[in-house]
Amino acid sequence: MNYTTAEMMTVAAARALSNDDICFVGIGLPSAACNLARLTHAPGITLIYESGTIRTRPRVLPLSIGDGELCESALTTVSVPEMFRYWLQGGRIGIGFLSGAQMDRFGNLNSTVIGGYTHPAVRLPGSGGASEIATSCGEIFIIMRQSIRSFAAKLDFLTSLGHGRNGTERAAAGVKTKGPTLGISDLCSMSSDPETKEFVVRSLHPGVTRRQVRENTGWEIRFAQAVEETPPPNQMELEALRELNERTAAAHGVTAGD
């Protein structure tokens, strides 16, 4: 079956999740990946959105973080202060699945501004839940489209702490959780190097070259000693993803996962 690079990215991200995971879901690309996992190999996964909806099972991808279906299909819905205090800060969530406008080699994310803070070239939405998701969840998975602008050597603003600007800042800031362990793009899958903490390419999606990855990365990206090829999406994964996107498009008039 033919598939797009966006489909490969979402499928690769979904595969990283398992049936027993408790996952805090960001809107957009993370939401698509998390729900695809739930609809394929991880039907028991607990998905939590910052609107307070716990173990939600939406039929379509939500357009906003607080769509009605998230509440209607949830095990329970709590207030937003309870969500951030008892559930996130309380350490009850294993994985935070995030995205952003910019990421650096240490998995730090910018979702605040491009350019200076006071007079930005582009004013982005801001942290939302991300700043504390990044430090309170057990570990962080990141999904982003890869380009020379989004995979930046230096962030314009650090909204959400990865491993810090030198790879060692989590411990220095008193943060005990693991931080970014996995990065998925439309070109490759990366994991955090156990020593240096920078993202290292572990597998290339089918048809993608090392040169392509280098050309779309703002720093000199490292490759693992044995780089594998990401297994392409199988029929079951693709059908589930396309059905999800079709239901979503019919419900919203567009694809919320894009």
Binding site: L63, G66, V80, E132, G164
Partner: protein, 271 residues
């Protein structure tokens, strides 16, 4: 004790120029009808507080009602930017907008501290981020018992909180359910509050002894405003108008298109 008022009376009595105003509703139950009345009554120099400024705050900012924005995520959910907010921040139109920018965790804690009558909120947050460097309202303190460093932000104590809910009874007791966000905290943290509701009923017909009810003596004014959360939604009444959220992107992109739309649909429309 809550007074049952018309929307124009409630806004005229309880929202003043220069007020700190929190209009809350986390995607759900956003008080559009009340916000539009604030625009029609031409309130100015407001400090607008809201975790997730979306279309309603884009409209208030674009119409020049705001001096300052206290927020943690500003965007059109699932669609993109708030063009009026960006125009104010990036180019100062129609007026410069001061930002007091936080994370969701900070604002949720700050509302809760406000409701609890505390001067500040403590939480485990902002570690390693650049936000404390651009916002003097983010500090760090040591726990007196363990020495752990914790983030501190001032509690949110609005002059007036405005929310939309499903029902109120004739006394002005209010029921809200579904995604309840921070609305209970916002009302209890505020000096005054306006609650618009889908319907006034004789009996709230509570399905659970733990239903979220704001007793009438915690609310200044209750206003019947059916459809008052549109284009957001009211659980049990109507769904989110996602098509309008997409349409807004085009309306808000251009200053003149925006002003014409506001004139036709808000200023010219009766409450």
């Amino acid at each position: 004790m809550a007074e049952i008022l018309s929307l124009s009376e409630a806004v005229a009595r309880f929202v003043q120029d220069g007020d700190v105003v929190a209009m809350e509703g986390f995607t759900h139950l956003i008080p559009f009808a009340a916000g539009h009345e604030v625009i029609r009554q031409r309130r100015r120099d407001l400090t607008l507080v809201r975790m997730t400024p979306d279309i309603l705050y884009d409209q208030l900012i674009g119409m020049g009602a705001a001096r300052k924005l206290v927020f943690s995520w500003g965007g059109n959910p699932g669609v993109g930017s708030l063009h009026r907010m960006r125009d104010a921040v990036e180019r100062g139109w129609p007026a410069p907008l001061e930002l007091d920018e936080h994370s969701h965790a900070a604002m949720a804690n700050a509302y809760e501290a406000g409701a609890a009558g505390l001067p500040c909120a403590l939480f485990r947050g902002y570690r390693g981020t650049d936000l404390p460097g651009v916002n003097r309202n983010i500090k760090f303190v040591s726990c007196p018992f363990t020495g752990e460093e914790l983030a501190a932000v001032p509690s949110i104590r609005p002059d007036v909180a405005i929310i939309h809910a499903q029902k109120a009874d004739r006394e002005g007791n209010v029921l809200l359910e579904g995604i309840v966000g921070v609305q209970k905290e916002a009302v209890l943290a505020a000096r005054r509050s306006i609650v618009t509701v889908e319907e006034m009923v004789d009996d709230l017909a509570l399905k659970s002894p733990n239903a979220v009810v704001l007793p009438c003596w915690t609310v200044s004014a209750v206003v019947e405003a059916p459809g008052g959360a549109h284009p957001s939604y009211a659980h049990g009444y109507y769904a989110r108008d996602n098509a309008f959220y997409f349409a807004w992107d085009k309306i808000a992109r251009d200053r003149n298109t925006f002003l014409e739309w506001m004139q036709a649909n808000v200023i010219g429309a009766r409450s």
